[in-house]
Amino acid sequence: MAKNKFGFSIHHDRQHNLDTADRNLYNRIALVEPSIQRCIFCGGCASTCTASKFTDLSFRLVSLNLRRGYIDEVKEMVARCMLCGKCTMVCPRDVNIRHLMVLLKKEFSENEF
């Protein structure tokens, strides 16, 4: 934010606008791995996550941010996943989280297919 003669600049609006949210990635992913639709955001994945012991990684948030179109947040988190698969083992809704993580990692990797 650049300063100006008034000594302040107009704050950015955090309010999320679901009308303009980009849901394409979510839809694309849900097509390949429909189980993501079953997510109830319980956070079991995040609490068991091996990586979350050391860094911010929560599939629960990935799942939400995908739906809300916060792709950058998703990108950041997904990159931290080590694919150990514990999350998938504890998911009460049998969401194939590990597959979703791989799909997303692929999405964000240079050579997609």
Partner: protein, 593 residues
């Protein structure tokens, strides 16, 4: 020399086949890396050459391995292969002995009866006609079996027969035609010239009794020759390519040539050696328990052969290695799958930089043993606690490396084909583990163990806790009592077929009692369904596999199902109707001072 235009189809077909084969084999051999080619040359002039020949008899002709799976299946394959072989060998002797010409054409043994009618002056001939007819009879029975198998595959121990492609079906028709046609052609000749044996002569007489064989004999020989020719022409493009290829493969194996980093050279021999027998289908739990089809080895190799899209069979696989074990040709399918996984998986965008920032490496005074539980073990605190208690009791000088959370060993990533991306984790873990200064690394997770052994370079013994606990008992640092409960032991894929570790767990268990007998042990053990290797399988399909495996393992109704892998433990406990536990837990229960 004998000649008649009807031999042409056969002759052309055979020449054509020989050219194709030699061209292909030369190309594939040429693809071998220099060292392997050297092995090849050396091999030819070594004892291995003869061992190979023995193998060829055992496998390609007698189909030893197939007999293991099912007697009738073995019998069928053996009769077809071995007796055809005899027909050819004995046939050529016969033609050598009785040909009226000095020069003996390659098709002589095949059409011998057509050219030679008149053997009065040779006594021994009766024996030949007898044997040749006998071989033919066996072959006809074998073809009969094959046709029968088509309708009743279960009778041959195959739950589901392979779905063949058109070329293969066509080739099979020609193959099945060859022997009946030979029979008819020879019988026709015998009907006229009385040169047949117990089979051909009698059929010939019957035929003569109601038809004018002069009209039929010649066309029949044409048909016979054409069937052969057609079969030869189609062979290189059909699964029957395995007949010649497997022989070369056996030699290469004997010469110690293995698969390389890429799918070429040796891999081609393996791929083409698959007879599509379909044994891998019924031994694949995905097909057997979960009713999934199209991903099994036979289809993967089929797709590889015919350059179809093989993405699904590559990734939609538990990589349990059962098909490897059961494959009669001994093709290393898991490896062929892995090669493509590594090739097809794009570089995954990872950011594991936090590992260096966040994970603290405690450099305390060095210990003898470093214990690495592994991510999965943290889902089974029962197991890790047991290990720690045992260590304490036995006074082991140890450090619990991943007490406050593990860094993934990297196998879950590498098994998907992203080995490179796991480097960060490998580096970090190496740092953590070596910082302990220990002589021995004990892990509870076979998945980690495999990774540590194959992708890490650790300056210490890397063993599974079963081995370590056994050692504690052997060296009397730990005493165990017999347990009153009955139990069955499940070999985890990664530990068993993956690393060949079968004995330690068993010896350890022996101190506490005898595991129930089960036919699903060691190399025959089942996958629990929890495999990390398959991302595509649905949760409900996994469930089926797990439930099925659990049912099979607990048929003798043991009190416990014992295993040595936290992942198996976790997976089984989701369907278990009885206690599932790790060997370590049982040991903890039965420790005495």
């Amino acid at each position: 020399m004998n000649f008649d235009p009807f031999v042409l189809p056969f002759l052309i077909g055979m020449i054509y086949l020989l050219i194709i084969l030699s061209w292909r084999y030369f190309k594939w051999l040429d693809e071998l890396k220099v060292s392997d080619r050297a092995k090849f040359i050396r091999g030819i002039f070594s004892l291995n050459f003869f061992k190979a020949i023995r193998d060829v008899f055992a496998e390609s002709l007698f189909h030893r391995k197939v007999f293991k799976v099912n007697f009738f299946l073995g019998l069928m394959h053996m009769s077809l292969a071995f007796f055809w072989f005899l027909l050819i060998v004995v046939g050529s002797f016969e033609s050598k002995l009785f040909s009226k010409y000095p020069f003996n054409a390659p098709y002589d043994p095949v059409f011998f009866r057509f050219f030679e009618h008149d053997f009065q002056n040779f006594g021994a001939h009766g024996w030949f006609t007898f044997f040749m007819d006998f071989f033919l009879l066996v072959l006809l029975i074998a073809v009969g079996l094959a046709v029968f198998k088509k309708v009743h595959s279960s009778f041959f121990g195959l739950k589901k027969a392979t779905r063949h492609r058109f070329v293969d079906r066509l080739a099979r028709i020609f193959l099945w035609l060859i022997f009946p046609l030979r029979w008819l052609a020879e019988s026709a000749t015998a009907g006229i010239h009385h040169n047949g044996g117990f089979l051909t002569q009698s059929t010939g007489n019957v035929m003569a009794s109601f038809m004018n064989l002069w009209y039929f004999e010649y066309p029949l020989w044409w048909l016979y020759s054409s069937a052969l020719g057609a079969f030869f022409v189609i062979l290189p493009f059909s699964r029957y390519m395995h007949i010649p290829t497997e022989i070369i493969l056996i030699f290469l194996r004997r010469f110690g040539i293995k698969n390389d980093k890429e799918i070429k050279g040796f891999a081609n021999f393996e791929i083409q050696s698959c007879s599509s027998c379909g044994i891998c289908i019924s031994t694949c739990q995905m097909a057997d328990a979960a009713g999934m089809h199209g991903q099994q080895a036979v289809y993967y190799l089929q797709k590889l052969r015919f350059k179809r899209n093989f993405e699904d069979p590559v990734f939609n696989c538990l990589m349990c290695g059962r098909c490897n074990f059961y494959c009669p040709v001994g093709i290393d399918i898991a490896h062929l799958r892995d090669l493509n996984r590594q090739k097809m998986m794009p570089t995954l965008k990872n950011d594991h930089s936090y590992l260096d920032k966040e994970v603290v490496v405690q450099v305390e005074n060095p210990v003898r043993v470093v214990y690495f539980a592994g991510c999965m073990s943290h889902l089974r605190p029962g197991t890790t606690n047991a290990i720690i208690n045992i260590f304490e009791k036995a006074g082991v000088d140890y450090v619990f490396a991943d007490k406050d959370g593990s860094v993934c060993c990297g196998r879950p990533m590498s098994i998907l084909g992203a080995t490179e991306e796991a480097q960060g984790m490998i580096k970090k873990n190496t740092e953590i583990i070596t910082s302990s200064g220990a002589k021995v690394l004990v892990t509870s997770c076979p998945i980690c163990l495999k990774m540590f052994r194959e992708n890490y370079d650790l300056p210490m013994h890397v063993i599974h806790h079963t081995e370590f606990l056994k050692m504690l008992v052997v060296t009397k640092r730990l005493k165990l009592k017999k347990t009153t409960e009955s139990f069955v032991y499940h070999d985890p894929c990664e530990l068993g077929r993956g690393l060949g570790e079968y004995k330690d767990a068993r010896e350890l268990l022996q101190y506490m009692g005898n595991p129930d007998r089960t036919s699903f042990k060691k190399k025959r053990s089942l996958c629990c369904g929890g495999s990390l290797a398959n991302l595509r399988i649905r949760a409900d399909q996994r469930q089926k596999i797990t439930a099925d495996a659990f049912e099979k393992l607990t048929r003798r109704n043991p009190d416990y199902l014992i295993t040595a892998c936290p992942r198996c433990e976790q997976t089984f406990s989701t369907v278990a109707d009885r206690t599932v536990m790790d060997v370590a837990e049982l040991v903890e229960m039965n420790m005495i001072d």
